[in-house]
Symmetry: C2
Subunit: 120 residues, 2 copies
């Protein structure tokens, strides 16, 4: 592993073959994981510039500001990057439900021995 | 999107072209994101069977029980899956530092306007 990337103070994301890193958004108050998505360099830059979470939509193959149509933006309170700089953690204040299904979080089902149980 | 996958009670992970889904582990007590990794079907199955987090190591191309060498296993308190079933959220009790660097979490650096700031 690149030691500068791991211990240094320089933001140097390790993009994958598709030019993406993983992004996890958690509720800054409750700690709940709200969603997992991907960012390319532009999405990361826009997020840093605006303080609102931007991602790269793989299905639509374009930059995607979370909440651009729903209004349910994610205001970034804190952003962190992991040891090998291929994942970003955003602590956010959500303006509304994060999931397109209307749920507060995309993780609304527990995995149980007999299947999935809705918890939210 | 597959509606059964989104609303149903059947675990039906949407593995990517490499046979992987994303896994996020958070501390069950503090809510802190500890690490982000990947799981193949076997890693998910082992995690469910044993109650300890297993992942798929892309660099080593094999199943990887977190803590297999360090002893710093992650005991799973709760597992959830997201709307499109391509990401898993594990709420865990860590037996020790999660990061191979010795940090409690892999996310030990904030992204600030002037670069990365160590916070842990």
């Amino acid at each position: 592993m690149n030691k500068n990337r791991e211990t240094g103070a320089v933001l140097d994301p390790k993009y994958d073959a598709s030019g993406l890193i993983t992004a996890v958004a958690t509720d800054a108050v409750t700690g709940e994981v709200l969603m997992v998505a991907h960012m390319d360099a532009e999405a990361l830059e826009r997020t840093r510039e605006t303080g609102e979470a931007h991602f790269y939509s793989r299905s639509r193959a374009r930059l995607w500001k979370k909440g651009e149509s729903s209004g349910n933006v994610l205001r970034v309170v804190e952003a962190r990057i992991d040891c090998d700089q291929d994942s970003v953690w955003l602590r956010v204040e959500p303006a509304g439900p994060t999931c397109h299904t209307g749920a507060r979080s995309c993780f609304y089902r527990q995995i149980q021995p007999d299947g999935l149980h809705r918890v939210d």
